[in-house]
């Protein structure tokens, strides 16, 4: 016990040193070189806990990571599907309480972001910092705030990006023409008035961060810019704009689906309303737009993605390694493989089923074969996707997590329950 506590303290001290020394090249705590990591990982099994709700993603992980891990590194991948990532967080906390420290935990790698990452980070239950120390970290744009901040909180090398996502919309090209589409919240307001009953959005709240995101973007547009929202939570700024946001959403209500008395609670309910023709739009986070949902038969085959011209929030999702992971070397090799350009090129193409965006900065890739793979992937995003340049032009980063909590509570209070707005 004593020994392991000492060892942890030593790791923590090294970690603190690594942070202060440099933000780019990191050592990997517990290892002296990458070769040592790869050597030690051989023969290990990596237990990768991840949300398992999509068979397409499950299949992608088994095929595009499981196979090369086994063949190239001698690592066995055990994908552990969970219904909610918070279950994994609780597991790691339980292990810590039971004294399963060192390498006596059970979880090697977690697909994670936002609050779950913050919980583990705050409790100091993550191994690291390591994310800038793996070889392929050179391909990640660690100067991008959307990467080094996760929901506004510093990543500090305790998680490494896997892929990206960006909020945008889906419409049915059999029912609407492209030139009728709203391209801003102002245009959306007019559209809702002209098409009563055909629009709704996901109720902001736990399990529906997409709905919260939809409201955040309205903050950006009404306040005339995104820049002021970056950084620490700013109570005054929030209070300045919140009443206008709630007023806009309240003004929409008579013309919303079911007159705004109720809202869909999650992505699948929103998709279902859209598919059944009750509403005209749903939302997507995938750079291949409607393609994954079309393939799964969730939305009509004529569905098509579209983006507003500005303020479409994009973010990254990550993998993290718990402090007591039994197979840290294998977890590091897996996290590094995820960032390899050929794997990244597979993950953006709808036909392979993963359908999230790049985790790496493709302009940093120099190897000609890898560049070719990336170019080919760019041409293969499918017909149901929005033009990548439009998405890139509208991209903004997510903001501090406190905004999310405030928006969810206030939305419920003023918009859903209809309490009078503060003067």
């Amino acid at each position: 016990m004593k020994l392991s506590t000492l060892k942890n303290a030593a790791i923590a001290a090294t970690a603190a040193l690594a942070i202060s020394a440099s933000a780019t090249a990191q050592d990997l705590p517990g290892f002296t070189s990458w070769d040592e990591v790869v050597e030690q990982a051989r023969g290990e099994t990596v237990y990768w806990y991840m949300w398992g709700g999509s068979d397409a993603i499950n299949g992608f992980v088994d095929e595009f990571y499981g196979v090369p891990l086994q063949e190239e590194y001698g690592i066995t991948l055990e994908r552990v599907p969970v219904a909610d990532t918070v279950d994994v967080v609780n597991q790691v906390i339980s292990e810590q309480q039971a004294g399963a420290t060192g390498d006596r935990g059970t979880v090697d790698l977690i697909w994670i972001n936002g609050e779950n990452f913050f919980t583990l980070r705050q409790a100091d239950l993550l191994y690291g910092p390591w994310a800038e120390g793996i070889p392929n970290a050179a391909l990640v744009d660690w100067d991008n705030p959307a990467i080094y901040l996760d929901f506004g909180r510093p990543v500090d090398g305790y998680e490494s990006p896997w892929s990206s996502a960006q909020f945008h919309f889906v419409y049915d090209s059999a029912r609407l023409d492209e030139d009728e589409l709203p391209r801003s919240y102002a245009e959306l307001s007019d559209w809702i008035e002209a098409n009563p009953g055909q629009f709704t959005y996901m109720a902001p709240g736990p399990g529906a961060f997409v709905g919260t995101r939809f409201v955040k973007q309205l903050f950006f547009e009404l306040s005339g810019g995104h820049d002021q929202w970056v950084g620490e939570f700013n109570e005054d700024l929030y209070n300045e704009w919140a009443p206008q946001v709630w007023q806009t959403l309240i003004d929409w209500q008579p013309n919303l689906w079911r007159e705004g008395e109720t809202y869909p609670a999650n992505q699948s309910e929103t998709d279902q309303l859209f598919a059944n023709g009750e509403t005209a739009f749903t939302f997507t986070q995938s750079p291949s737009g409607a393609a994954p949902s079309i393939a799964a038969g969730i939305v009509p085959p004529t569905s098509q993605a579209f983006s507003f011209n500005d303020y479409m929030i994009g973010d990254f999702n990550y993998v993290a390694i718990p402090f007591n992971a039994p197979n840290k070397a294998a977890a590091l090799v897996t996290a590094n493989l995820i960032l390899r350009p050929d794997r990244q090129a597979f993950q953006v193409q709808p036909e392979y089923g993963f359908c999230c965006g790049w985790g790496i900065d493709v302009s940093r890739v120099t190897d000609p074969d890898q560049v070719a793979a990336i170019d080919a992937a760019m041409q293969n995003l499918g017909d149901a996707a929005e033009d990548p340049s439009i998405l890139a032009g509208a991209l903004v980063a997510d903001i501090a997590a406190e905004y999310q909590t405030r928006i969810e509570a206030d939305w419920e209070r003023y918009v859903l329950r209809g309490e009078p707005l503060p003067q």
Binding site: W51, G52, G53, V82, A98, G277, G297
Partner: protein
Amino acid sequence: MTDVTVKELAPADRSAGKRATGKIVFYATVIFMCVVLVLPVIAFFINAFAFRWFYPQLIPDEWSLQAWQRLGLLPPPGQFSIENLFAQWASVPDVVRALGLSLWIGFLVTGVSIVIGMPAARALGMYSFRGKRLIEFIIITPTIVPPIAFSLGLNINFIRWDLALEAAGINLGLSGSVLGVSIVHLVPVMPYVVLTLSGVFANYNADFEAQARTLGAGPFRTFWHVTFPAILPGLFVACLFAFLVSWSQYLLTFLIGQGRVITLPILLFSAAGSGNNAVIAALSLIFIAPAVLILLVSSRYLSGESGAVGGFGRV
């Protein structure tokens, strides 16, 4: 179920009018039960094979096997052949593995719970003693206390015990193992087993055993030829409860299994968030199939009649 209804109604009906009313009530009950029990299953069947079943289609325009393909039970579209099907199944799809594990844990838990529960039930059913009410209360507490309340703490203890045993050189592995999950399933299972069986023993006449012993049968023969046949219907019900309660555990399996013991409910819960109704329906069908099968096979034992036991007694 239906037999009982008919028997109960028959002697009460004196006039033809009453008989007609009885019939209407009987058929109304049957239809109601069908609507409640069978209709959702039919909906599952349609959903599991439907593709893009959107309003205003009353019945699906398109049918597809995509759900079964996505579950890895059928080869991918356009690659169907007997060889591919065999290859697919030879690699043991996740669903099949989960089904097997659920069955294995279910049978294990059922067997152990009966062995533990039978003596307790016999004592509770046949004898009165000081503190009996208290013991009965303690036995049913797991049905009152929400599983989350004890399972989070239990998991921590399991990990602790594992570490302690490991230090002592014993590698038992309670936490994250089938063994640990089976043990923890016993917690919600035991009340059902003990209560069902104690109801059986409450109406059990031990004089039959005495008679057998008088005629020279040993304890084992007495049990096998007298006790066992007499309590068999109740035993079946207890087994059924035990199996079904174990079969449907999600939270306990997840927490104690640490996500590594992947039973069918674990797969079902993680698929439920996908929004792909066909996959959810297909998994649900696989989930309810064994339960329905067992119920059908055992239905003849459920009438609860035998020489020494008169129905379910207090239960």
